[in-house]
C-alpha cells in the first residue's frame, strides 16, 4: 500500500497532532452506491482485485450468486445477495456492494495503537499502511461495519483503500470506473450528498416511502454512502441502522480513561472484561499471540498512549469465527 501519497493528512492512528492541514486545502471526497441502479454484476469486485493486485481466490459456489461468503484479507469488495419476502407477497432480491465505508470518524483509526498504521487523509479516505500494522486487530473491533480482515499469513489487516493511489492521481476508484450502470459514483462529498438527496426524492415518488441516503451521524458521516430504496430493510442489507463510533470504541475508551492509574489489578480486570465483551458482543475476537507480541514490542518503545498491556491470547481461532 502506498504509505504517504501526496495527499494532505487529517490524522494518523496513535499519533497526536498528526494532521497536515494547512499544507493544502483538500476537498472531501465520497463514493456513493445507488442501490437502485446496482445489478450485482460484480464488475467492481474484479476491478478492485485487478487494480490492487489481489489474486483470485479459489471460491466455491455455496448455494448463492455471491462469490465469497464474506470479505477476506484478499477480497475487499463483495456483492452481497439476500432474498427477502415482502409484505405484499412479492420477493425482493437485495444486492449490496460491501466494502469499507470510510467513516468520517473512523473507529478503526481511533482504535489503532500502532502509530501511522491507519491514516485518514483530509479528503476523508481512510487507508491502512501495512508496513506499520502490528496485527493487533483492534481496528477490527473498532469498526462499526465489520470491514477490516486479518491475513493469517502476513499477520496484517487489510481493507478497501478507496484506491487512494488513483484518487491521488486525479482518477476515480477502480470500482467506480468499472461500474456499467453508474451505480457507483465518485465526487466531492457535497456532490454525492446532492445526488443522493435528489435520488431519494425520486425514489419516494416511485413509491419507495422509506428510501434514504445512508450517511449515519454516529460516525460523523461516510465517505462511501448508499442510496437505499428500501430504507426500512437496513438490517436485511446488513447495514447497522445506527452505527456509532463511540460504542465500537467503548472498550478502547475505557482503557484510555484509566490510563496512568498503573494498577496492574485494575488493568487486568479491565482487559478481562473487555475481552469478554469483545467475544460475546462483537463478531471478531481481539488479538492473538503474534499481535500481542507486537503490542508488547510497541509498548516498550512508545509513549503511554500506546502502552497497552499485553492481552492474554484468546482461545478463539480464526477458524472458529462465525
Amino acid at each position: 500500500m502506498p504509505t504517504e501519497p501526496g495527499l494532505a493528512i487529517r490524522r494518523k492512528s496513535a499519533t497526536p497532532s498528526s494532521g497536515t492541514k494547512g499544507r493544502s486545502e483538500a476537498i472531501e471526497v465520497s463514493k456513493l452506491v445507488d442501490i437502485d441502479l446496482c445489478i450485482g454484476c460484480k464488475a467492481c469486485e474484479i476491478a478492485c482485485k485487478e487494480w490492487n493486485d489481489l489474486a483470485p481466490d479459489d471460491t466455491a459456489n455455496f448455494g448463492s450468486y455471491q462469490s465469497h461468503e464474506d470479505l477476506t484479507a484478499n477480497t475487499w469488495d463483495l456483492m452481497r445477495f439476500k432474498e427477502v419476502d415482502l409484505d405484499n407477497g412479492d420477493l425482493a432480491w437485495l444486492i449490496r456492494k460491501d466494502s469499507c465505508l470510510h467513516c468520517d470518524e473512523p473507529g478503526c483509526l481511533l482504535a489503532c495503537p500502532a502509530p501511522g498504521a491507519i491514516v485518514q487523509y483530509e479528503n476523508g479516505i481512510v487507508d491502512f499502511d501495512q508496513s506499520k500494522c502490528i496485527g493487533c486487530q483492534y481496528c477490527i473491533a473498532g469498526c462499526p461495519f465489520d470491514i477490516p480482515r486479518f491475513d493469517q499469513e502476513t499477520k496484517k489487516v487489510y481493507k478497501c483503500t478507496m484506491c487512494v493511489d488513483r484518487v491521488d492521481a486525479g482518477l476515480e476508484p477502480a470500482c467506480v470506473k468499472s461500474c456499467p450502470t453508474g451505480s457507483i459514483r465518485f465526487g466531492t462529498k457535497q456532490e454525492m450528498v446532492s445526488y443522493g438527496e435528489a435520488k431519494v426524492a425520486k425514489l419516494k415518488d416511485r413509491g419507495f416511502d422509506d428510501a434514504l441516503l445512508y450517511d449515519p451521524s454516529g460516525v460523523n458521516g461516510l465517505h462511501m454512502m448508499y442510496v437505499v430504496p428500501r430504507g426500512d430493510m437496513l438490517d436485511d442489507y446488513g447495514l447497522p441502522s445506527d452505527p456509532d463510533t463511540t460504542t465500537s470504541l467503548s472498550f478502547i475508551r475505557a482503557l484510555q480513561a484509566v490510563r496512568g492509574v498503573g494498577a496492574i489489578a485494575i488493568w487486568a480486570g479491565l482487559i478481562g472484561s473487555a475481552l469478554y465483551w469483545l467475544r460475546s458482543g462483537r463478531k471478531r475476537p481481539p488479538p492473538e499471540d503474534e499481535a500481542v507480541a507486537a503490542a508488547e514490542e510497541l509498548g516498550r518503545d512508545d509513549d503511554e498512549d500506546a502502552a497497552i498491556e499485553p492481552v492474554p491470547a484468546g482461545d478463539a481461532r480464526e477458524d472458529d469465527w462465525p
Binding site: D36, L37, C38, I39, G40, C41, K42, A43, E45, I46, K49, E50, P56, D57, D58, T59, A60, N61, F62, G63, S64, Y65, S67, E83, D85, D90, L91, A92, W93, I95, P180, T181, G182, K199, K202, D205, R206
Partner: protein, 817 residues
C-alpha cells in the same frame, strides 16, 4: 432492434420478456435506469426466473417457460377488447383494413392448408382478397432516405382490397379480434401460470401506452426465440406494438437484444443459411435465372401508396452484390454470375447440417467461433454427429468442446475416426474491425492487445485457405468450379484481406468513378455499382470510415447521436420512423418528435421515406413490405406456421394445450430419430427446465478467466424451495438433473426466486434453471468428471420457421446427487 439502446430512456413503460438485460446487457441496459430517473420509466419483467433484472424491475411477472405466445395473445386480446389500441395509427400504418380471401380458415389450432403427412402448410389461402383487374400503371416511385428516387416499372399485380372502416368480417382487424378473443385473462393465466390479477394489472399498464402521447417498448432476447414457435412469439410482440402505435416512435419498438457484441453484424451478413447478405433471400431450386428469382422472391406492391422500396429495388441490391462477389466476371451477359450462387434444395440450418453429418452424408465442417457440442441442442447427439465426419476444422482462440470432443468424458479416442484440426485464431480483443450492436450501430473498434505466438486472424486463415482451394481447382478442376475461380479477390495482401478493405467492399463502390458510395439509393442493376451488402452502404464513404466516428452532438435531445459511429440503414436510428407521425406528418407525441414534417421536408431522425415526400402523398411508412403498412396478418409464405400467432405447447410439456386440440406446433420439423428422445408427457420428467447465461460468464470461454471463475465459480442448478424440500435437496448441496437425453450434475441453489406456478385447473409446476457455460475443454472445467453442459439436456428440435433450437422449456427430473 427497431430502436436502439440509448432510446430506452425515452420509454414510458418497458416490457422486458424472455430477456435478462441487467445480467446479459448491463451496459446498454443502463439507459432504462436513466429513463426511470429522468421520466419515471416503468420496467415490467416477465420471466420464468426472478433474475438480476427482476431485482431492479418495478414489476416481476413469473411465467411458465414456453407460453409467451399465450401471454402476447392475452395482451392483444385485452387491447382489442377494451379498445385501447391507437386507432389512427392502426388505420394508417397497419394492414388492419386489408380483406383476407375467403378460403382462409382457422379451426382447432390449425390454419387452412395443413398437410398432416407432410407436417406442413400450403399457404395459398393465407392471402388478401384482390381488387379485380390489373392495377398500377406507372408503378411505384421508390425513393428512400436522401432524396434519390428512381422508377422501376413493376408488373403490377392486382392490389389488395381494403375496408377502411375495419368492419368487413374478413378484414384483418376483425379476423385478428376473433382469433385473439380466445386468449382471455383466465385462459392466459391457466396456460402461463401468471396469476390472473397480476396478468390483468400488467395488461392494463402496458396497454396504456396505446395513448398517442405514450411510448412502450418491448425488449426481448433468446428467451422468446428458443422455442418451436419462437418466430410467432415475436410476431405476437410485433402485433401488440402495432396496435398500440408503438413502432417507429422514440421510446417504442420491438427490440431484440442480440447475443455477443456482433451477432447483429453476423445476421446482417448472412450467418443464417436462408439469406444472402442484406436479407436478400437465398435462391432455391427452380430459380435457375435471375428472372425466375426476381419473379418469386421480392415483395410485390399491394397498395397504390405502398413504396415497396425493398421489392422494387431488390435487383439493384442483388446485382451489386454479385459484382462484389465476382467483379469483372459478373456481366449482364452471364446474369452477373447469378447461376454461381448455391441454391440449397433443403433447409441448411445448423441442426440440418449436423443431422446430415450424423447420417454420414457430410465429409467435413469448418467451425469458426462455433462449437456444436456445447451449443447443442442435445450435446451427445451433436458429438455423435461430428464423430461421423472425416475431418473437422476448428478456428478459435481457445480449445473448445468441438476441438476436444475426441477426449470428452466417456469418449474413447480410439473410437473416433474424425481428423480434428485446431487453427488458433485471434480473439476479437486482438484485432480491429466493426461490431454491430443490437441497435444496428456499426462501431469500429481498435485492437487492444497484440496477438501472441502463431495465432492468426480469421481473415488470414480464410484467405490462405481460399487461395489453396482455388489452386487445387485450377490444377485439378472439380464440380462447379466457377464460383471459386471467379471470386473477386482484389486485396492488397491476397493471403490476408484487410478488414478495412473488406468493410469498404461491403459498403460498395461506383465502378464508373471508383468512388465509395454513400447510399444504397445509388445502387444500380446494370453492373456499374458494387456493394457486398446494400444495408451497409454509407458505412465507409468517400469521406472515410463512418463507423469510426465519435461525434457527441445530439441536437434533438432524443439520443440519436447521428455523428456517433453509423447505423444501418443510412444512419437511421429508429426504423419505420414515418410511422411515428400522423397523416399530416406531425409526431404522435409532440414532446418526442422522432420525425416531423416541417412543411418542406421531414426533420429529426434520418427519415424512412424520401425527405421531401409530402404527407399528402400518403406514402406508406413500412417501406420494406409490399403492403406499405405493417402486417398484423402475415400472408403467403412469410411464415410456415400461420398468419397469426397461435399458442402450442412445447415439444416437451407438462400439460395439454388448453387453447386447441393441436398440442404442439404442427409445422415444426422432426429430425430422424429425434422424437424418440422426447418425453411424451411429464410422467417420468415432471419439471420444466430452462437455460440461460449469467453476467459473470461469456459464452464458453470465461472458464479460462480466473477472476470470472472466482466471481461465479461453479456449474449450478437453480430450483424452488418447495421442490428442494420435496426432494431432500439442500442449498449448496449437489444435484443431478436428467432429461430423456442426458444428465448434468452441479451445485444446488435453492431459491425463492424460482416460484412454483399453478397451471390448468390448479396443477403445480416447478421450474428449474440451468446456466449454459461450463464444459470439459480447458480452464476450470478441464478434468471435471461431473457432466455440466446444459445442452446435454435439450431436445433436438427447432423453430418451425428458422430452426432455432428449443433451449427453453423442456422436461427434466431432478434428484440429490
Amino acid at each position: 432492434m427497431t430502436n436502439h439502446w440509448r432510446d430506452f430512456r425515452n420509454s414510458d413503460v418497458i416490457l422486458v420478456i424472455g430477456a435478462n438485460p441487467a445480467e446479459n446487457h448491463p451496459c446498454g441496459w443502463k439507459w432504462a435506469h436513466v429513463g426511470r430517473d429522468e421520466r419515471g420509466t416503468r420496467i415490467i419483467h416477465v420471466d420464468p426466473r426472478f433474475t438480476r433484472t427482476s431485482a431492479i424491475a418495478d414489476v416481476f411477472v413469473p411465467i411458465r417457460a414456453g407460453t409467451d405466445t399465450a401471454f402476447f395473445g392475452g395482451l392483444v386480446n385485452y387491447v382489442l377488447e377494451h379498445e385501447l389500441y391507437h386507432e389512427d395509427y392502426v388505420k394508417l400504418h397497419t394492414n388492419a383494413s386489408f380483406i383476407v380471401a375467403e378460403g382462409f380458415k382457422f379451426e382447432d389450432g390449425l390454419f387452412s392448408g395443413y398437410d398432416e403427412a407432410a407436417r406442413s402448410y400450403t399457404t395459398t389461402t393465407w392471402d388478401y382478397e384482390r381488387e379485380s383487374g390489373p392495377q398500377g400503371g406507372g408503378g411505384p416511385k421508390p425513393g428512400l432516405g436522401q432524396g434519390t428516387t428512381s422508377t422501376t416499372p413493376t408488373t403490377a399485380p392486382s392490389f389488395a382490397k381494403v375496408d377502411p372502416t375495419l368492419r368487413h368480417p374478413r378484414c384483418v382487424f376483425q379476423l385478428l379480434k376473433k382469433h385473439m378473443s380466445r386468449y382471455t385473462p383466465e385462459v392466459v393465466s391457466q396456460v402461463t401460470g401468471i396469476p390472473e390479477d397480476k396478468f390483468v394489472a400488467v395488461a392494463k399498464e402496458f396497454a396504456a401506452t396505446g395513448a398517442a402521447d405514450k411510448a412502450g417498448s418491448v425488449v426481448y432476447a433468446v428467451g422468446l426465440t428458443h422455442h418451436t414457435s419462437g418466430l410467432q412469439i415475436i410476431r405476437g410482440a410485433g402485433i401488440l406494438q402495432m396496435l398500440l402505435g408503438n413502432v417507429g416512435i422514440p421510446g417504442g419498438g420491438v427490440n431484440a437484444e442480440r447475443g455477443h457484441a456482433n451477432i447483429q453484424g453476423n445476421t446482417d451478413n448472412a450467418i443464417s443459411w436462408e439469406i444472402l447478405p442484406g436479407y436478400l433471400g437465398i435462391p432455391r431450386p427452380g430459380m435457375e435465372t435471375m428472372a425466375d428469382y426476381m419473379a418469386k422472391v421480392p415483395a410485390k406492391q399491394l397498395r397504390p401508396n405502398s413504396i415497396n422500396f425493398f421489392g422494387a429495388n431488390y435487383k439493384k441490391f442483388l446485382v451489386s452484390q454479385l459484382k462484389a462477389f465476382f467483379g469483372d466476371k459478373a456481366t449482364a451477359a452471364n446474369d452477373f454470375g447469378y447461376a454461381w450462387i448455391p441454391k440449397p434444395a433443403q433447409n441448411s440450418s445448423w441442426l440440418t447440417i449436423h443431422d446430415e453429418a450424423r447420417a454420414g452424408r457430410l465429409d467435413g465442417i469448418i467451425y469458426g467461433g462455433f462449437t456444436g457440442v456445447t451449443v447443442g441442442p442435445d450435446s451427445r447427439r451433436m458429438a455423435e454427429s461430428i464423430g461421423k465426419l472425416k475431418w473437422l476444422v476448428i478456428m478459435d482462440p481457445l480449445p473448445t468442446t468441438a476441438s476436444e470432443f475426441w477426449h470428452a468424458p466417456g469418449v474413447d479416442p480410439e473410437d473416433v475416426q474424425t481428423e480434428a484440426l485446431f487453427l488458433p485464431a485471434t480473439h476479437w480483443i486482438e484485432k480491429s474491425g466493426s461490431f454491430t450492436n443490437s441497435g444496428r450501430w456499426a462501431q469500429w473498434k481498435h485492437k487492444a492487445l497484440p496477438a501472441t505466438g502463431e495465432v492468426k486472424d480469421d481473415n488470414w486463415i480464410l484467405g490462405h485457405l481460399f487461395r489453396r482451394v482455388r489452386d487445387l481447382y485450377r490444377k485439378e478442376g472439380g464440380a462447379l468450379p466457377e464460383p471459386v475461380l471467379n471470386l473477386f479477390w482484389p486485396y492488397s495482401d491476397p493471403g490476408n484481406p484487410g478488414l478495412d478493405e473488406l468493410a469498404m467492399e461491403v459498403n460498395g463502390v461506383d465502378l464508373t468513378s471508383g468512388e465509395q458510395l454513400s447510399t444504397f439509393t445509388a445502387l444500380k442493376d446494370d453492373g456499374t455499382t458494387s456493394s457486398g451488402n446494400w444495408i451497409y452502404a454509407g458505412s465507409w464513404t468517400a469521406e472515410g470510415n463512418q463507423m469510426d466516428r465519435r461525434g457527441t452532438d445530439d441536437p434533438t435531445g432524443l439520443g440519436f447521436f447521428h455523428g456517433w459511429a453509423w447505423s444501418w440503414p443510412l444512419n437511421r436510428r429508429i426504423l419505420y420512423n414515418r410511422a411515428g407521425a400522423d397523416a399530416d406528418g406531425q409526431p404522435w407525441d409532440p414532446t418526442r418528435p422522432g420525425l416531423r414534417w416541417n412543411g418542406k421536408k421531414w426533420v429529426g431522425d434520418i427519415p424512412d421515406i424520401t425527405a421531401t415526400s409530402t404527407p399528402a402523398d400518403a406514402k406508406g411508412a413500412f417501406i420494406m413490405t409490399g403492403e406499405g403498412v405493417a402486417r398484423l396478418f402475415a400472408p403467403g409464405n412469410l411464415t410456415t406456421d400461420g398468419p397469426f400467432p397461435e399458442h402450442y405447447e412445447q415439444t416437451e410439456t407438462p400439460i395439454d394445450n388448453l387453447l386447441s386440440g393441436t398440442r404442439r406446433n404442427p409445422a415444426a420439423f422432426l429430425y430422424e430419430d429425434a422424437p424418440a428422445s422426447f418425453a411424451d408427457d411429464d410422467a417420468e420428467f415432471p419439471y420444466v427446465a430452462t437455460t440461460y447465461r449469467v453476467t459473470e460468464h461469456e459464452h464458453y470461454v470465461t472458464q479460462n478467466v480466473p477472476y470470472l471463475v472466482e466471481a461465479m465459480p461453479d456449474f449450478f442448478v437453480e430450483l424452488p424451495v418447495e421442490l428442494a424440500e420435496k426432494k431432500g435437496i439442500s442449498n449448496g448441496g449437489r444435484v443431478k438433473v436428467r432429461s430423456k437425453r442426458g444428465e448434468v450434475e452441479g451445485v444446488a441453489i435453492v431459491t425463492k426466486r424460482m416460484r412454483p406456478l399453478r397451471i390448468g385447473d390448479g396443477k403445480v409446476v416447478y421450474q428449474v434453471g440451468i446456466p449454459v457455460h461450463w464444459h470439459y475443454a480447458g480452464g476450470k472445467g478441464e478434468g471435471e468428471a461431473a457432466p455440466m453442459m446444459a445442452n446435454l439436456l435439450t431436445p433436438y428440435i427447432g423453430d418451425a420457421n428458422v430452426r432455432t433450437p428449443e433451449y427453453k422449456g423442456f422436461l427434466v427430473d431432478i434428484e440429490k446427487a
